[in-house]
C-alpha cells in the first residue's frame, strides 16, 4: 500500500458516503450539495489515477454546470428550507432494482476489463491534454463522433419539445 493507494481509498469512501447522503437526504438542496462533494471526491480519484484533464473537466462540467443547473431548477420550482416529507414516491422497489442492476452491469464490466491493472504514479504517462487528445482523435474517433451525434439528437429534441408548447 502506497500513499496514493490510501488517498484513493479514502476518496472512494468519501464519494460513496456522499452518494448515499444524496439519495437519503430529505432536504432537496442538501442532496444537490452532497452531490457536489461526491463529484469532487470522484475528481480527486481521477487525479490520483493521473488523469489530470479528465479530473478538471469533471469539475468544470459536473460541478460548475450540471449541479448549478440542478440547484437553479430546484430553487425555481420549490425548495423550502427544512425537511420535505413527500420526497419519496411509490417507486422505491423499481428504483432499487434499476440501481442494483446498473451497478452490477457496470461493476462486472469494469472488473472484467481492468482486473489487475495498476497505476504506478511514478512510472506512467500523465493524462494531460496532449495524451487525451491523441488517443481520442487517433484511436477513438468513431465513438467520439457517435457521441456527438447523440448530443445533437438531444439538442434537436430539446428544441422540438420547447417549440411545441409555444
Amino acid at each position: 500500500m502506497t500513499l496514493a493507494d490510501d488517498v484513493f481509498g479514502l476518496l472512494g469512501v468519501v464519494c460513496l458516503a456522499a452518494a448515499v447522503l444524496v439519495v437519503t437526504s430529505r432536504h432537496v438542496i442538501h442532496a444537490a450539495l452532497w452531490l457536489v462533494v461526491c463529484f469532487g471526491a470522484l475528481a480527486g480519484c481521477y487525479l490520483v489515477l493521473t488523469a489530470e484533464l479528465v479530473a478538471w473537466v469533471q469539475v468544470l462540467i459536473y460541478i460548475g454546470a450540471v449541479v448549478v443547473l440542478m440547484l437553479f431548477g430546484a430553487m425555481l420550482t420549490r425548495a423550502p428550507v427544512g425537511a420535505v416529507q413527500e420526497l419519496d414516491s411509490g417507486n422505491r422497489p423499481v428504483a432499487a432494482v434499476a440501481g442494483v442492476a446498473t451497478a452490477g452491469v457496470l461493476g462486472t464490466l469494469v472488473v472484467a476489463a481492468f482486473r489487475g491493472a495498476y497505476v504506478d504514479i511514478h512510472h506512467t504517462q500523465i493524462g494531460d491534454g496532449k495524451v487525451i487528445g491523441t488517443s481520442l482523435f487517433r484511436f477513438f474517433v468513431l465513438p467520439f463522433e457517435v457521441a456527438s451525434v447523440l448530443l445533437l439528437a438531444a439538442l434537436v429534441g430539446a428544441i422540438v419539445l420547447t417549440k411545441r408548447e409555444v
Binding site: 438542496i29 457536489v36 489530470e52 478538471w56 468544470l60 460541478i63 448549478v68 437553479f72 430553487m75 491534454g129
Partner: protein
C-alpha cells in the same frame, strides 16, 4: 527543502490574495469618486484616505455575525468560504515570470476555469439558505446569468489555448506575440465581458440589484461573512483580470527585464484591466434579464465560435 519552498510559495499567494484586492478596492473608491466629481475617502490614514479599507475591515470584524432564525444555518455559514476559496486556488497557477508559477499545471487553463466555476455554488448556497425572498430571487438570477456566460468564457479561453498549442498558462504566455492582439482580439473581448458577468459586476449586476432586491444573495449577511463575500468580489476581479492578461495580453511579457520584472508587467496589466472593470461600473446602466441572456446567446457565443473557427483555420494552414 521542497516542502519549505511549497509553503513559501503558498504564503506568497495568500499575501497577494490579501493585498492586491484591497488595492483594487481602494482604486475603486478613488477612481469612482473622481469620475463623479467627488473626492472619495480622504481622512482614514491621513494621505488621501489610503487606510479606508483597513478601517472597513476592522469595522466588519467588530460587527455581530447574525444568522436569520429560519435560515439553514450550516449552509448559510459555509457559503462565504465556498465563494471565496476558488479564487485563492486559481492564483496558484498564474505565471508571474518565465517558468515562475507557484504550481505550473499542464492543464492550467482547464484548472483555472473549473475551479472558478465552483464559486458560483457559494452564491447559490447563500441565496437559498438565507430563507429570504430577495436572496432567493438574487440567487436564481445569479444562477441563470452564470450558466449563460460560462459557455462563451470557456470557448474564448479555448481559442487562446488553440492558438498557443498548449493548455499550460505559462506555455500560452511563451507562445504569445504582439500580433495576437488583432488575431485573438474577439476572444479577448468575449472573455473579458463574460468574466464581468461571472463576477456580477455592473452592467451585469442584476443578481445584486440594490434598487430591486436589496443586495440579492448577500442581503442577510453581516460582519465578517459579508466582508468575505466582498473580498471574493474583489479577489475575483484580480483573478479574472490576471487571467485575461495571461491569456490575451502576454502576461509577464514586457519591453525589458522579463525574467526579473515579469511580476511587475503582469501586475501593471492586471491593474489596468481592473481599472477598466471599475470604469465600466461608473459608465453603463444595469442590463435587464432578457438583455443579459440575449447578449450571451446571440452575441458572445457566436462571436466566440467564429473566433475558434478563425484560430483553427490559421493553425491548420500555418503548421
Amino acid at each position: 527543502m521542497i516542502a519549505l519552498e511549497v509553503v513559501a510559495k503558498l504564503l506568497g499567494c495568500l499575501l497577494v490574495f490579501l493585498t492586491v484586492p484591497l488595492l483594487v478596492g481602494q482604486m475603486e473608491h478613488k477612481a469612482m469618486a473622481h469620475m463623479q466629481s467627488r473626492l472619495g475617502p480622504m481622512y482614514a490614514g491621513g494621505f488621501h484616505g489610503w487606510a479606508q479599507l483597513v478601517a472597513d475591515g476592522v469595522k466588519f470584524a467588530q460587527k455581530e455575525s447574525v444568522v436569520p432564525a429560519r435560515a439553514d444555518r450550516r449552509v448559510f455559514e459555509l457559503a462565504p468560504a465556498v465563494a471565496l476559496l476558488p479564487y485563492l486556488f486559481v492564483l496558484i497557477t498564474i505565471p508571474v515570470g518565465p517558468g515562475q508559477t507557484a504550481r505550473d499545471l499542464s492543464v492550467g487553463v482547464f484548472f483555472a476555469l473549473a475551479v472558478v466555476s465552483v464559486g458560483v455554488i457559494g452564491v447559490l448556497m447563500a441565496g437559498w439558505s438565507s430563507a429570504n425572498k430577495y436572496s432567493l430571487l438574487g440567487g436564481m438570477r445569479a444562477g441563470a446569468q452564470l450558466m449563460a456566460y460560462e459557455l462563451p468564457l470557456v470557448l474564448a479561453a479555448a481559442s487562446a489555448a488553440m492558438a498557443a498549442g498548449t493548455l499550460s498558462l505559462d506555455g500560452i504566455v511563451h507562445a504569445w506575440r504582439w500580433w495576437w492582439l488583432p488575431y485573438q482580439g474577439i476572444a479577448a473581448v468575449v472573455f473579458f465581458v463574460a468574466a464581468l458577468a461571472e463576477l456580477r459586476r455592473p452592467p451585469f449586476d442584476m443578481p445584486v440589484a440594490d434598487s430591486e432586491i436589496v443586495f440579492g444573495p448577500f442581503t442577510e449577511y453581516t460582519g465578517l461573512r459579508f466582508a468575505l463575500f466582498l473580498l471574493a468580489e474583489y479577489g475575483g476581479i484580480v483573478v479574472f483580470s490576471a487571467l485575461t492578461a495571461v491569456l490575451f495580453l502576454g502576461g509577464w511579457k514586457g519591453p525589458f527585464f522579463e525574467a526579473q520584472l515579469g511580476w511587475l508587467w503582469l501586475l501593471l496589466k492586471t491593474m489596468a484591466l481592473s481599472f477598466v472593470v471599475i470604469w465600466l461600473r461608473v459608465t453603463y446602466p444595469r442590463l435587464r434579464a432578457d438583455q443579459l441572456q440575449k447578449l450571451a446567446w446571440v452575441g458572445l457565443v457566436p462571436l466566440a465560435l467564429a473566433q475558434i473557427a478563425l484560430t483553427g483555420v490559421v493553425r491548420v494552414t500555418t503548421s
